[in-house]
């Protein structure tokens, strides 16, 4: 067991898989010699050499297209798109090429690859380097989508993503890179499609993802201490596949459902979960599903404004407390 940062966990997760399988290769802008602009891939070039860890030009379409062509013909590429906002630059590959090729070819073409990308706010970078865009990926048939919140999950879900036969979009949260957590020694392999109950509780189910997980946990402690409300916090971790057994199982026990989402409100991932809950857990619910989200705005650069935009622990506490009339 060792304490590791989320940032170092990225490199360890990639290294674990590259050590295991020579078909795993890694490409992206500034990922090799510079070790990544977030320093999340330091040491990989030295460990695995320039044939397997490759710097690319600023060509997001070439990065994802090359990853796809390599995956189709036998490699297991990991491609980095530096900021998740840039997925828009290469969205054809995310929306049309990578996810549809298996279906369109009636199963002939395979795309086992991982696109990892720095997602989310908190760095005061402004609207084009801060958005939480996991919902962009969630809406596309053929993709799998994960967003880990802890260093251990980074390693385990990275391993699961690399070993998965389908394309996986791997959202790393930029504001979590400096956070630390305990990580066991040795190989760590997790499972896609599994949510995790990170705080058991009986009064309400709170779903959160990535940076919203520690904030939901902080809110849960306040709710318990100051308001006597005992909420269950679930780290959704995987948007596709979606672990509805865990989520709806929790709702059946707590009878209330909240989502805490960093993505802008319209068509955020929680909207789908609210829809599913209305359809499948209606009679388990004692009140409406409540979504706590970033408002439907581009993100501002100023720190005080950005902090106002994102859900935080006091806002989560307030919303849950008022919704439960406590």
């Amino acid at each position: 067991m060792a304490e590791l940062t989320y940032r170092d966990a990225v490199a360890r997760g990639i290294a674990q898989e590259m050590s295991r399988d020579p078909d795993v290769v890694f490409l992206g802008e500034d990922v090799a010699k510079a070790g990544g602009v977030f320093k999340a891939t330091v040491g990989l070039l030295e460990q695995f050499g320039p044939q397997r860890v490759r710097d690319t030009p600023i060509s997001e379409q070439a990065i994802l297209g090359a990853a796809m062509g390599a995956a189709m013909t036998g490699l297991k590429p990991i491609a980095e798109i530096m900021f998740s906002d840039f997925l828009a630059v290469c969205f054809d590959y995310i929306a049309n090429e990578i996810p549809k090729s298996r279906y369109m070819s009636n199963g002939q073409v395979k795309c086992p690859l991982v696109v990892r990308t720095g997602n989310g706010a908190g760095s005061r970078f402004g609207a084009q380097h801060s958005q939480s865009v996991e919902n962009w990926a969630m809406m596309i048939p053929g993709l799998k989508v994960v967003a880990p919140s802890t260093p251990k999950d980074v390693i385990g879900l990275m391993a699961a993503a690399v070993r998965d036969p389908d394309p996986v979009i791997f959202f790393e949260h930029k504001s979590l890179y400096a956070t630390k957590g305990d990580v066991p020694d040795g190989e760590i392999v997790d499972r896609l499609g599994t949510a995790k109950i990170v705080r058991p509780g009986k009064d309400a189910t709170v779903l959160a993802l990535a940076l919203m997980v520690p904030r939901a946990l902080a809110a849960a402690e306040t709710l318990a201490k100051e308001h006597g409300i005992d909420v269950e916090v679930i780290d959704v971790r995987s948007l596709v596949p979606l672990d509805l057994a865990t989520i709806l199982g929790s709702v059946a026990r707590t009878h209330r459902l909240f989502t805490v989402e960093e993505n802008p409100r319209l068509c955020g991932w929680g909207a789908e979960l609210a829809s599913i809950a209305a359809d499948e857990a209606f009679y388990d619910l004692d009140g409406p599903v409540v979504r706590i989200t970033t408002p439907h705005i581009p993100l501002p650069a100023a720190d005080n404004l950005e902090d106002l935009a994102l859900p935080n622990a006091p806002r989560i506490v307030d919303k849950i407390r008022r919704s439960l009339n406590a």
Partner: protein, 341 residues
């Protein structure tokens, strides 16, 4: 530029191309022509559905490149990809079946005319978002380079593709990484409905950009299968020797409109007729006869092609429609579409 290219005269030659290779190139062109013409006819009968983009008039490019490929080389095509798919040996029935959206089609009707794919034949897909497949071909070439495999990836596209970003990203990427990939621009003078010269800053939309990526400027007569074959072979040799990518602009002409919806009324009077005088198949036939290859061998190819396309047509007409139970298969690797537990 008016869109009319200067073309070299085609003359009979006796040279290093063997008779067998010449007959192969002729057969490929004839079979593509017959199959494409049949696809057009089947439209008119309402039996080919959706859209379709024909290569009538452009057969020499597909034949010349396929004739120079080794087994294991990979083709990446556009929506105008029937010709390249057939040229790799995919049976006409599989192609026409897909165009007719039948269960006997290449992808059982799930892909359609614009996405013909036959991995077993090295046809790694037909891509219908302009330019998308150039980077994808780079990736396949990267795999060959990384694994020390000798196959070459060939990426076919039209003149219109040269004005989209992915074209330029891929050329730079391939040149910097020295990838074994060949980019083949079929310049048929029109990007969809608009003359390419009206929307492009240079006369030769692909070749005149080659220098920006440190590549040789290559423009060839795309209606001459021998010239295509020779240019292709040189590019394959270079790629297999580790010499990196090539960009080849093939001047040719599209007899039909952009797609089934386009009657091509924007063409100047006489342009189509001028190009038909340089029909790749008629020219090649003349060359074979002038080179002393007997008319019997030539006619046998033509008759065999007609038989093949007739048989394929009948098989497709008799084939069932795509079955409902494949609607949601192969979305994910487990064979299904499940996104939840």
């Amino acid at each position: 530029m008016t869109g009319r290219a200067q073309l070299k005269p085609v003359t009979p030659r006796n040279d290093e191309l063997t008779e067998a290779k010449r007959l192969e190139l002729y057969r490929l062109q004839v079979e593509i022509r017959d199959c494409e013409q049949r696809a057009y006819d089947l439209f008119l009968q309402g039996l080919v559905k959706g859209t379709s983009h024909l290569s009538l008039g452009q057969e020499a490019v597909a034949a010349g490149f396929a004739g120079a490929m080794e087994k294991g080389d990979l083709s990446f095509c556009t929506y105008r990809g029937h010709a390249h798919t057939l040229a790799r040996g995919v049976p006409m029935e599989k192609v026409l079946g897909e165009l007719m959206q039948r269960d006997n089609g290449l992808m059982r009707g799930k892909g359609g005319s614009m996405h013909l794919t036959s991995v077993d034949h090295g046809v790694m897909g037909s891509y219908a978002i302009i330019g998308a497949h150039l980077p994808i071909a780079c990736g396949a070439a990267w795999r060959a380079q990384y694994k020390g495999q000798k196959d070459v990836s060939v990426c076919f596209f039209g003149d219109g593709t040269t004005n989209i970003g992915a074209f330029h990203e891929a050329l730079n990427f391939a040149a910097v990484w020295k990838l074994p990939v060949i980019f083949v621009c079929e310049n048929n003078l029109y990007m969809e409905y608009t003359p390419i010269g009206e929307v492009t800053a240079v006369e030769h939309p692909a070749a005149d950009r080659a220098g920006a990526y440190g590549l040789e400027r290559i423009v060839i007569d795309g209606n001459d299968a021998d010239e295509v074959f020779r240019a292709a072979r040189a590019a394959f040799d270079k790629a297999r020797a580790g010499g990196g990518p090539s960009l080849i602009e093939c001047m040719t002409y599209r007899y039909s409109g952009h797609s089934r919806a386009d009657p091509a009324k924007y063409r100047p009077a006489g342009e189509l007729e001028d190009w038909m005088k340089r029909d790749p198949i008629q020219l090649y036939r003349g060359r074979l006869l002038a080179a002393g290859i007997g008319e019997g061998a030539v006619k046998a190819i033509e008759q065999d092609s007609k038989r093949k396309v007739d048989a394929a047509t009948e098989a497709c007409k008799a084939a069932p429609a795509s079955p409902a139970d494949i609607l949601a298969t192969d979305v994910y690797a487990d064979g299904g579409w499940t996104w939840r537990n």
